[in-house]
Structure formats: structure tokens, C-alpha cells
Symmetry: C2
Subunit: 331 residues, 2 copies
């Protein structure tokens, strides 16, 4: 029995070239005791794969090695089994890779229910569904009816689900996509409140138009310009799910500025701080600080300039780094 | 009785010039009924002031207007009072601005305890103390002993307190600063575990050396290069407090890439998502998704390519945006 699989031949530089892969034909070995043979039926292609092709220890999975079968998630049917836990015909999912067949001892297989069309496990009941639900409904906090959400990559496998979940939960949903066909689909079929084709419309103007009071939540699949516009239009206390930054995945040079792609791979939380919000709690906070000071755990120094008229000159010490300690004017 | 105050004469372009301000001498008006006259003693100069000088509605406070007294936080003593709530000699803080004297009806004055040296309210028991404590101990979640924290602007009024609080709480503390004098102070006086002078040392190499297993928390006062290096060295699940991005405040052009300064002014939360972390909860999540689908609230479409050998070509549809729906290969 022969099998076809696809291995990584070379690491892509920028966009993936078909020649970065190699098609391998091989005879399948005999099944050993305890092993299961899966025939893959649907194989998922996902943006995160681009990261697996780079020699970069910063991703959340190790890179695919040269000569190794390309990694992927898929759905299949057990075609032969020497393992009593899996009967022939069982539907399963797993990381089968770019291969027609997959041999395993079974620990990495997840059996699937029989009463759902198989292709559902590629979408709603697969990684896109889980990503959309968890990323929108659970990751930060629970969205509330009446809030406004902006979604980039809105017609994508995750974005289209986030938008529909948000509509079902009573939010106002604004999508950003890259073609009029996708825009029509999101508006007319999926019921988005507004959709912006960023290739033909002015993103800043349209976001300001559709969300005049600002955005409560942003679900980011794309990055780049749309994240800039989202940040510029967030309400105070807004929440951003960093799910994907697909616009940057094929970059051959590191992007300028903070590499937020790290925030995805490392599951980081970044939070902005404005201390005046806590003014009502200063008494409580100062008690805690005084306790450190009483134990001799905190020292502090002031950089004192004399006289109000020094202020216009002295303020630049903050920016050229020449102040030593908290900069204050004594009047 | 005369007063001296400093008003904004013109909006700075880049670094602040002394000529952007104007010194005004004036007679103080008679105190009306209910009013209080404060003599300012210590006036705080803070990096956030740079943002108040820009004509940018994106800040957390309105811009200071041309001709208006420059805004600032200060400590003073009640010098005269027609308000029974404030006796002469009471110590108070408030937003007095760049002015020797301040007249108010008193609602915006906070009386201060008498048993602490006055200058303490400029530091430990002032905005820097509150910012350091809340931003490090409370904003995201409570730091744990044994964690590693990286602090930029470590010798600054907030950074120096964050580092000492972190030491008191049992963390490993790495500071980044810009002079050897500050480095010595942080190491020898404040007890930081390691300090990097970013002007003379290689930041990437030193962070990797002092935090070989990565950083649990990062307290950001500066932005730019140090935030890049921090992101590159965060552990999975790491937490970043965005307190200041002082390196960008004097930029005359918007920075390239996402404007994280918005995350501060708007108190945003950004959180990275990797869905495989939730694999043990997929059953629960899929039940919720199925409930939407049963109510007809969710539609989904697949973009199906036929045959394993199409994969190396088809994967680029994800990046040029030509796929319509979830991209899968049917084998």
C-alpha cells in the first residue's frame, strides 16, 4: 500500500513557494501491534503554519524540520487497526500532517461524534470555532450587549465566526475585509452591521463613521494598518484580542516597532495604566507603601530645582535622562 | 499681593523649548467667600506633561490651551482661607499648575497628614508611589516571589520604586537605565539584582544573560528598543504593564507600527491567544457553538481544494486573501 506525503524541502523567504516542499511517494509499513492506520479526509491549512516554517524559537511550536512531513491538523477515518480502542470506520482528528495516511499508537487521536457532517469539524466545531469562541467570549472578559466590536480579517474562518457570535450576543459588529464579494457576504449573509473594504475605502474615516463613540473590543487577525486604526479608535478600557497578525507573517525583515507577534506566541497580557483612575484608593495604597518604607525596603530620591522660573528649562531633564530621582520644583 | 505663574505660549514640536512658555506676573485678586489661597511648595514635573502639550484628543486629559497656566500636580500650604474646611497652615495637594499661588473653593484639595516630611508626598506617597504600587502589584495580577521582572527607566521616579517593591516581594529584579551613575545607585543602594546600561551594553545579550529562562513581568516606562527586547524575552503567559513610553513622547512623526501609547491613555488590555491551550475545554466550547448554530445564528463556509498535492500551492491563498471561507484540502 502506497502513501503520498509532502515534506519541507527548504525554508521560505517571504511568501511560500511550491518548491519549498517536496512530494514523497512511499510504501506504508505493516501495522504493528497497537497501531492504527488513519486515512485523512480533510486537512486544514492555517495562517499559523507560516510561523512553523521559520527557524525561530519564538513560536509556540518548534519549527518543522527540513525533510519532515509538513505539520497540519486534519480529520480522518480509521482504515485499519491493531488497537482495540479504535475500530475501523471511526472518525478521528489529530495532527496528521500533509499526508494521505497516518500511523499512530492512538494516544494523539480524538474520536469524533457520528451525528455531524464531517466537514463541520474543519470549521464551527474545529480550531476556528474554538478560537473564535474562546478568543471573543472568554479570553479577557465577557462582552456585553450594546458594545461595539471591530474585527479584522472578518471574512476569514475565525473572523466570520467572531462576528456572528457577537451579533448573537447583541453587539454592534464592524468587519474589515479585502474584497467586495466578502463584504457582501458579511453584510447580507452573516448580518454584520457594517463592513469596510480596506482596499477601496478609507479605513480611518469609515471606522470613525461606523463607531463614532469608539470601539469597545477589537478582534485582531491581521495586524499592520488595521491595528493602528483600531488602537486610535478604542474607547477607554477597551479590550483587544491578539489572535493573528497575518499581514506580518511573510515579512522578510523584522517589523519596525514592538513585535506584537510575540504577544500571541507567548500568550502575553499588556495593559495600559493611568494612575489617576485609582485616586480614590490612594490612602490604601500609601499605607502599603509606608509599610515597605518602615521595614527599610524602599529608598527614594528627589531631584530638586529651585524656583518656578526653572520649570520650562528643567522639564527636558525628563527626556534627556539627566534627572537623578523624581524631578520637582521647590517654590 | 503678586503672583508668578507660567503659561503655555506655543505648542512644542519635538523637544520642549523654554520659549514655548511665558512667565506672567500678576496681582492676586481678593479672596471671595468660601475660597482658599494655597502657596505651592513642591511642584511635580512628569513625563506625561509632554502629552498634555500636544493638540491630540487621544490623551487621557484635554490638551493645555495656549495662554493657560501649565498643568501640574503639587503640594502646598494654605496661606489664607475664607473656607471653614481649611485652616491656615493646612498641607494640601492638588493640580495647582505652574504657579506660586492657587485660589480654589477647596473641592479639589486633598489635605495631607502632618507627621510625614512634606517632600514624601512628591515621591513615595505621591503619584510615583501610587503608580509603582498599583501598576506592579495590582493592575494585572499579583506578582509571585521567584518571578523575574524587567524594568525600563529603572532609575526613574516610578521605576526605582517598582524595583524595590519587587525586591521586597521576593522577585528577581533587572533594571535598564542610561548611565553608570544610575546603574551604581540601583545596584548598590537599592539592591537590584542586575542593571543594564543600555547606552554602553548590548541590551539583547544582557537580558538573555540575566534572565536565561525569560521574563515573567515587564514594567515599561520607556518604550522603543527596550520594549522590543522585552517582548522577545517574555516567558509564556508573561505580563506587561504599559506605564510610559517616554522614548516616543517627543516624536514629531507618528511612530511606525501599532501606537501602543494609545494603550496607556485608553487603559487598554491586549491579550495574545493560542487556542491549543484550551484543547481540554473543546467539548464544552463546541456545545456552546452548536447552540448558536441550532438557533440559526451561525453560518460557515469552507474553501475546499482537492488533493494533497495542491497544498503547497493553495497555502498562499491564506496570505493573498483569495480564499473564501476556511481553507481545507480534501484528500
Amino acid at each position: 500500500m502506497t502513501n503520498t506525503r509532502v515534506t519541507l524541502a527548504s525554508r521560505p523567504n517571504g511568501m511560500i513557494k511550491p518548491t519549498d516542499f517536496k512530494i514523497v511517494q512511499e510504501d506504508l509499513p505493516e501495522l504493528k501491534d497497537g497501531e492504527v492506520l488513519v486515512k485523512q479526509v480533510y486537512m486544514s491549512l492555517d495562517p499559523a503554519m507560516r510561523g512553523w516554517l521559520d527557524e525561530d524559537e519564538g513560536s509556540y511550536m518548534p519549527p518543522v524540520r527540513i525533510g519532515e512531513t509538513m505539520r497540519s491538523f486534519g480529520i480522518g477515518i480509521v482504515e485499519a487497526s491493531n488497537n482495540s480502542a479504535f475500530t475501523v470506520g471511526t472518525r478521528v482528528n489529530g495532527m496528521f500532517g500533509w499526508s494521505e495516511h497516518y500511523i499512530t499508537t492512538g494516544e494523539d487521536l480524538v474520536p469524533l461524534p457520528e451525528d455531524v457532517p464531517l466537514e463541520h469539524f474543519m470549521g464551527l466545531l474545529g480550531l476556528p470555532g474554538a478560537t473564535a469562541y474562546h478568543g471573543f467570549m472568554e479570553l479577557i472578559d465577557t462582552p456585553k450587549a450594546g458594545e461595539t466590536v471591530l474585527i479584522s480579517g472578518a471574512a476569514g474562518s475565525v473572523g466570520s465566526l467572531v462576528g456572528q457570535i457577537a451579533k448573537a450576543e447583541g453587539l454592534k459588529v464592524i468587519g474589515v475585509t479585502g474584497s467586495d464579494e466578502k463584504k457582501e457576504w458579511l453584510l447580507n449573509e452573516l448580518g454584520f452591521d457594517a463592513v469596510i473594504n480596506y482596499k477601496t475605502e478609507n479605513l480611518e474615516e469609515m471606522v470613525a463613521k461606523y463607531a463614532p463613540d469608539g470601539i469597545d473590543r477589537h478582534f485582531e487577525n491581521v495586524g499592520g494598518k488595521v491595528l493602528e486604526v483600531a488602537l486610535d479608535n478604542m474607547k477607554i478600557g477597551g479590550k483587544i484580542t491578539l489572535c493573528g497578525l497575518i499581514s506580518t507573517y511573510n515579512d522578510t525583515e523584522p517589523s519596525v516597532g514592538p513585535h506584537l507577534v510575540r504577544a500571541i506566541a507567548r500568550r502575553l497580557t499588556l495593559k495600559g495604566l493611568v494612575i489617576i483612575d485609582q485616586q480614590h484608593r490612594f490612602g490604601e495604597i500609601f499605607e502599603k507603601l509606608s509599610a515597605y518604607a518602615q521595614k527599610g525596603q524602599i529608598k527614594y530620591r528627589l531631584d530638586i530645582e529651585e524656583g518656578l522660573k526653572q520649570a520650562p528649562e528643567a522639564i527636558n531633564k525628563l527626556f534627556d535622562g539627566t534627572n537623578q530621582g523624581k524631578l520637582v520644583i521647590r517654590i
